[in-house]
């Protein structure tokens, strides 16, 4: 289990989702990914992407104009 930080600052929709999606493809079940974003749209879109693809959102919050989402990667094979 590891925690990766992904800098998605200044990226606009759908780039943060694409970055999260592509990084998760490289991670293992149980790993955590923290995405730091500035596009407010991510508060809807990253959780939606996670629900669709079966990953878990552990936390989402706004801190100093940055949107921070913590995702736990799930095993979605099969």
């Amino acid at each position: 289990m590891s925690r990766t930080i992904l800098d998605c600052r200044r990226l606009l929709c759908p780039m943060p989702v694409i970055r999260v999606q592509d990084r998760i493809a490289e991670l293992q079940a149980g790993d955590e990914l923290q995405a730091i974003c500035t596009d407010p749209g991510v508060m809807q879109d990253i959780p939606a992407w996670c629900r669709i693809n079966g990953h878990e959102i552990l936390e989402q919050r706004l801190e100093d104009d940055e949107y921070i989402l913590l995702i736990r990667v799930q095993d979605t094979e099969g």
Binding site: R10, G41, I52
Partner: protein, 345 residues
Amino acid sequence: MQRKAVALISGGLDSLLAVRVMQEQGIYVEGINFFTGFCVEGHTHAIRKKDQKKPKRNNALWCAEQLGIKLHIIDIVEEYKDVVFNPRYGYGANLNPCLDCKIFMVKKAREWMEAHDFDFIITGEVVGQRPKSQRKDTMPVVQKDSGIEDRLLRPLCARNLPPTLPEREGWVDRDKLYDFSGRSRKPQMALAKAFGFADYAQPAGGCCFLTDEQYSIKLQDLWQARGNKQYEMDDIMLLKVGRHIRPEPGYKLIISREEGEGKFLQGYRKQYPSLKTTSHAGPLCLIDGDFAEEQIEQAARIVARYSQGKNAPEVELEFRDTEGNTRLLTVPPLPPHELKKEWVV
């Protein structure tokens, strides 16, 4: 054996319906959404205040969630440039290379389909709905040039077209497909109602900024100024923001129209020299291109004209280069009649 289809999901109603029609027939579907850089939603989110009232959701993701399917968003920004620069079948009313775009997307989806062992592709296309890419005579061009041939099924208008492989093989029942055609949206709306979809995106115009006249003019201006058809992601994003004013062929000003845009442009101050009024409230301006020293003053006078000091005898501005070095300028704002119409892109 359950057959698997990959659907091109735009986020609009048609692809939503096409997938649901397939699901009704027991087909397993996953979606692909291609990001070209010009997609209408996305970027524009949340830059301007007036956009903030709109729901900040990505329609393709929202559709996938309604349908209960996986969605793969694929960044094709780099490869797509070739489609925009040299469309074999030309542009539409603006810089939209719709037919080449469709061929390209279906070809990419075919590669994905083959790599992931899916059986066929579906799209939400309707014959006659769009003037160029969805005509009865151009639809076979997409099939042929993309290499997908008869593994491309358009569930909403399939009965107006020759049977495809999934129909001939009995994977799907042709009688339960549709025969929509033309520009009327009524049949789609009725089908949406029948499926219980009440809330869906209804994009006006096309799926991307290339269909927008103003946007296309700005892109053409950029190409002309640079002497070649090229763009980077930042260029095409900045074409969506601010007023664009080109006082000389070599450089242009990108001036924020409101606070949200100003904040957005601030993120570019390491890439572009900028001007900001300091004596009065005013916009942030990026300077794109090559300019001589004396042109900074010209630029400053233009920016001052858009500040609250436009009627003041003098306005003070800060010029900042890409390294972060700053200096102050004091200029008289440009009077309105001196701002030439042809400068405004």
